[in-house]
Amino acid sequence: MNLRQVLTNSLNVLMMLFGVFMSYKAWGLYTNCESPLVVVLSESMEPAFARGDILFLSNPKKAVDIGEICVFKIPGRDIPIVHRVIDRHDSPETGNQLLLTKGDNNNVDDRGIYQELYINRGKMWIEPKDVVGRVQGFLPYLGMFTIFMTDYPLLKYALLGGVGLVVFLYE
């Protein structure tokens, strides 16, 4: 293989990766949500969502309403949580909201989770800035594949490497 062949094959691999990545970015811009696809990891929203369900998220302009299911991040915690909004307080001046959430399958609301970290002591509500997305739809169980790959990272690298190699060697 000469240089042009190597460059052409590398370009094919790059375009395959960027093609997926850039359409995800475009989808993110359309839905106003950085990661419009998430996978449910816990059972706290049973029976609505089970572990392994894929959720479609977006961030509409209108205020969050009671009953909506939000994916939110608590400052200091990396893993986002998907729970239902059970209470809202809107500030008449600023329009900012104070929201309380609860997992359908949990016995208590999320205040305990909010305050778990010392830096969040006294945190009684989450705010729209903590919300990373609002659930618009879901696909059951398809995310199991992602969970499997997160549990066994070797599988992910094997898959990526395999696809890359096939594209690279394909003329």
Partner: protein, 202 residues
Amino acid sequence: MTTETHPRAIKVDKSNLLDLKSACDDALKEYLETKGGYKQSHKHTDIKLVLGYLGCAFAAAGSYYGYIHPFELPATKFWTGVSVVLYYLFNALMMAYAYFIENDTIFTGYKSTPHGTQTISVGSSVKSYNPYYDIDLHMNISGSSTSSSGSSKTTITGKKSTHQRFSTAFQYWFDEDGVLAQEQFEADIIKFLANTEATHLE
């Protein structure tokens, strides 16, 4: 004509039209580069590579910008949007180039002749269920070259170009076993080239 023994016989599945085509493409390219005296020009590949890598560079830059800046900022969304648009634009340009300009070109090359630099562009195609190999020959003498004789320097002005199409059934080039008869093939190619060059000089 010297009979040259070819070190490797080209054998293909003669019921597969695409196999036949690619065997002829390879033989044609090899002939033009070796005996034809043409130096291959990679302009189509290079242009496509530049367009493709430019698109990827924009995508990478936009992704990096989005990685180091929070998504909520309007600037992040703007630049991410710009990179997405540019990535797809360059992708589309690359595909359009391959589809409309490169088309069925299998070889582009050039060689110096007394008349100037002669460029050649060869396209080949087959149609489904049709055992014919269609060759598109484009030749060009560019006037940019100068030939100096004594003290006077003459520059050929203008571009002379010619275009010929040839269609040959594969049965004239492949035997029962699907082996390419290289002498036969090359003789025909020489004929096609001469034919095209002849129209050139008119």
